[in-house]
Amino acid sequence: MPAITEDFPFLKGVVYLDSAATSQMPVQVREVMADHYRLGASNVHRGVYDWSVRATDRFEETRQKVAEFIGASDPAECIFTGGTTEALNTVAQTWGEANISEGDTIVVTLMEHHSNLLPWMQLAERKKARLLWWEVTDEGELDLAQLPEILAAQPKLVALSWVSNVLGTINPVQTLVPQLKEHGAVVILDGAQGVPHLPTDVKALGADFLAFSAHKMMGPTGVGVLWGKRELLDAMPPCRFGGSMILSVRQDRVRWAELPHKFEGGTPNISGVHGLGAAVDYLQEVGMDSIRAHELELVGYAMEKFSNLDGLIVYGPQDPLKRSGVLSFDFHGIHPHDLATLIGREGVCVRAGHHCCQPLLKKLGRQGTTRASFYLYNTKKDVDALVLALKKAREVFKEIL
């Protein structure tokens, strides 16, 4: 890993272990975003003056960068959205509305984030479709023994996380997707926890749709990407009507714009998209392979340290190779909010709660977990600080443990 500390000056003195919720932004990204306003703002795809050309060029360059970043050959397949949630809802409201009928089967996994769950539960209810839950094993992995049942159900759609935001489990997407597709399923992949941390190649992943958010990969909030296969996107009706998304509007006839603009009604988050472009540049500069290797090292180190902590249980796969830089744990049964508060007092930022995965938490038999998550700016010292903070927390609760 190259030295990057000076790109995150605000992290000095803070142990930030909540990048799975939102990542920190390097100064380089912030400057590119500020440029949009500092040098003169304008709308995109509109004006013919310099400012507009600059804004538009950077906007469309970002689309190109994002496409390259995820291995998509056609930038027009990358739709800018407000985030992962909006991207997933867009597919539910357009593709889902047009393709799901009464009696169809939709598969969701028990480890989905609510954002890749609720749109499909709602769709199933609207269409009287059948919802089939793909179970999670006690080891925190998708239950592969259930695969024959899933395939036999011939689902129209499978909604699947690439990486679980609670368990850290990396699902074996590349082996599962071809089988699902052979049986006629369209596969939508929630990439919110995958794309920022693992080298991404949509061709290798094989899914039909991939959704992810800029703010979990060093970019700003309010921007995300929906990637989809062109033939699917072309066949989908638009769902957000307004400026930018039309070819022509007459009183008696409307023609929609081509991809990607068909799905980008209204003025987009321009500086935010510019920020995403800068974030992709930053990640490319460091290298996704290096980032993955760095996180793997940290997870391995943390799990080793944790194994020496009496009363600590890590959820999810025990093999670091099967997981991302996300570690959910229980410590002596101390309620996650109490634990996170105590850890926070030591300057260590972790997340506590159900992580928007209540069905999964119910399966784990927990109301919530405490979660530490790593990114490229974290170090082994951060892990040491976490372990020390945990020991101090135990002291506070020792009289009732």
């Binding site: 003195g13 803070v14 309620h335 996650p336 909010h337 109490d338 508060t341 105590l342 926070g344 007092r345 300057g347 506590a352 709660g353 159900h354 209540q358 938490l361 109301q367 919530g368 506070v396 609760f397 009289e399 009732i400």
Partner: protein
Amino acid sequence: MMDIAADDDLYKSIILEHYARPPYKGALTDHTHYDEGINPSCGDEIELFIKIVDDKVEKVHFDGVGCSICLASASMLTKILRGKTVEEARKYRQAFKDWLTVREPEPSPLDLDELEALGGVRYYPVRIKCALLAWETFEGALRKQSTN
């Protein structure tokens, strides 16, 4: 990175004691009032069973799952409101809320007793709703009944 006052002591013994050994935990069967409160951000859930006779809170029990602050506050509620009139109980709820949600509290007009141990919560704004969940549920139970 966090603004913590010098006298911060969030997890006082009395809080942990209520959390570990709440005297009035578990459902009632002869309650006259009931409500459940949920904190959607953390999933904490409190059920309150209240028996009111002649406008007097004869007893209150709670059940549920939550953090130490949430459950200790619920346990303190069941202890402190026992035997109070409904009007007094409501005043307690208001007094506690007023006292807890200001940065620089004046001494409360009511004797908050053990509840004062929860004062440390005010330095953790996101935790204030943990301390208030049972109290809001109490108000909800009273209101539910009056609208029935």
